[in-house]
Symmetry: C2
Subunit: 349 residues, 2 copies
Amino acid sequence: MIEDKNPQRTSIAQLGEFGLIEHLTKNFEINQTSTIKGIGDDAAVLNFADKKVVVSTDILVEGVHFDLAYMPLKHLGYKAVVVNVSDICAMNAKATQILVSIAVSNRFPLEALEELFDGISLAANEYKIDVIGGDTTSSQKGMIISITVLGEADENEIVYRNGAGQTDLLVVTGDIGAAYMGLQVLEREKQVFQVNPNSQPDLDAYTYLIERQLKPEARKDIRTLLHALEIQPTAMIDISDGLSSEIMHICKQSKVGCNLYEDKLPLDPQFMNVCEEFNLDATTVAINGGEDYELLFTIKMEDFEKIKGNPNFTIIGHMTQESEGIHLVTRANTRIPLKARGWNALSEE
Amino acid sequence: MIEDKNPQRTSIAQLGEFGLIEHLTKNFEINQTSTIKGIGDDAAVLNFADKKVVVSTDILVEGVHFDLAYMPLKHLGYKAVVVNVSDICAMNAKATQILVSIAVSNRFPLEALEELFDGISLAANEYKIDVIGGDTTSSQKGMIISITVLGEADENEIVYRNGAGQTDLLVVTGDIGAAYMGLQVLEREKQVFQVNPNSQPDLDAYTYLIERQLKPEARKDIRTLLHALEIQPTAMIDISDGLSSEIMHICKQSKVGCNLYEDKLPLDPQFMNVCEEFNLDATTVAINGGEDYELLFTIKMEDFEKIKGNPNFTIIGHMTQESEGIHLVTRANTRIPLKARGWNALSEE
């Protein structure tokens, strides 16, 4: 492949703020019937008719939430949307619109922002959400992405964190831990690259893990699946900070305890292999590694038959009385108090 | 006054992300009937019933949008909310909720964030809006504040930028230019302070200008006033980047031209005095200086009688056919093409 040694670099200052927003969003289409007016006025205008509105926001900071050394800008744009959509899925609602604000230092040319917005556009199409507003400005250092997402649902569909009952079953979608191990693989490759920039990494053994880290998906399908199964979860949350941290949120807000079973954790074979390669305990990674964007929810015991054997769901535990506490039940059948060691953007490492 | 030489400094890392959000938002009350669920779940839940929803977002970056050398954190928090509420006022809608995301470097202790949130809380009370969500994280450098604001209105009340007719009158609320001159005064004092930290500034002659810069207000009263006068504006925008820039937005989107009359511009006496002191042309500053957060709107000619003599409003011009262009008509009755020299966060200075 012949590399372009002089990729085009257009200064964002050349376009100015209005020109930039117009340029970056010109290909965005409006698909949601609830969007009356998108980008181009002081505010967007929406009509949710008789639906309730759910809204959430996330801010992503370069060097804290992402590292552009191994995160391509297009993937970053995609993931920034997914992370937000996932919060709407966790309410059992349908994501409908996003607003995207970007602050970037002048080290980023227009072409970099185009890459980023390509990823945002790709995710908007995939999740059928409208980009209805945003803001673009310069930063003193690095890139900051702030996204607000709106969604809709009927009032009786919405699932909060605080509805879990003392005998409910704890269910997780997909598998967990892979995104965290994907990050470990990428971090290792970055170190290798820094020592020897000519090394050609062979990442075939890690494709699933890397994809989980670089191109996660929000589980928008679960709402439809649960609806078809006639299951209304009692509590729900998405796994962004790590399973144990999310379980503790549900327990705290629902005033219940929990037994989580180690032998029930849904782990991908590639994940287990790479944990071994890295000399890491798979269970510890699975319950503390974040960024899976799977959904964790509780259902009434009587819904067990509806969900049993469904490949989309794994029952990983059950809720208890609050006084019993929150425990991991190991394969050796010992009960260990669960601690939230999830990822914390403010911790000093 | 005895200064505390050792003000308390609590590291934000000590609290962690969840603790921090809980701590900073624990005093926030829910006042809007449309807020079903605020902070504390994956997303907030809102019920706008038969109202339309308006939503806007703004990102403020230290060193780009504000300078903490003369902007106290409490004022910054207040202003960050006002800037967003102003966008909702510019749709002729009522602001109802905000989401607040903050990224800060570790140079800010908890006490600094408390100051900031005190200002946010003050503005939330003043504008009767609920703080329903947000995100708090660390940054590599400086402080970044990203706020999304939601509001509501009946569909027929909402005013866009694109509805101005060819013979409509152009109206502005309050007076303009003062916020920009307030910034000039503060910048000058900063320079003086850097040369001589013991100098005691006498700012009595500048209080109005400084207040317009440090504690602007959004014109939430205008919606009520216009309703009482039975006036429905044909187009509306808030003055954040400067009058000329905003006029051009309305003209472009409404496909009309405009004559703006220099002798009609509403200028405060203090503003005019200080322009003279700074050797600046008052008209140039008034039409290009931003951050006034007044409202600029167009009304049908037949509404002239309803607005005439009302101290809240000044008719500063009229719209024309698009082909006639956009002009400033000077006191000497010459027509000068208007250019948008408004503030641009992306420009290289």
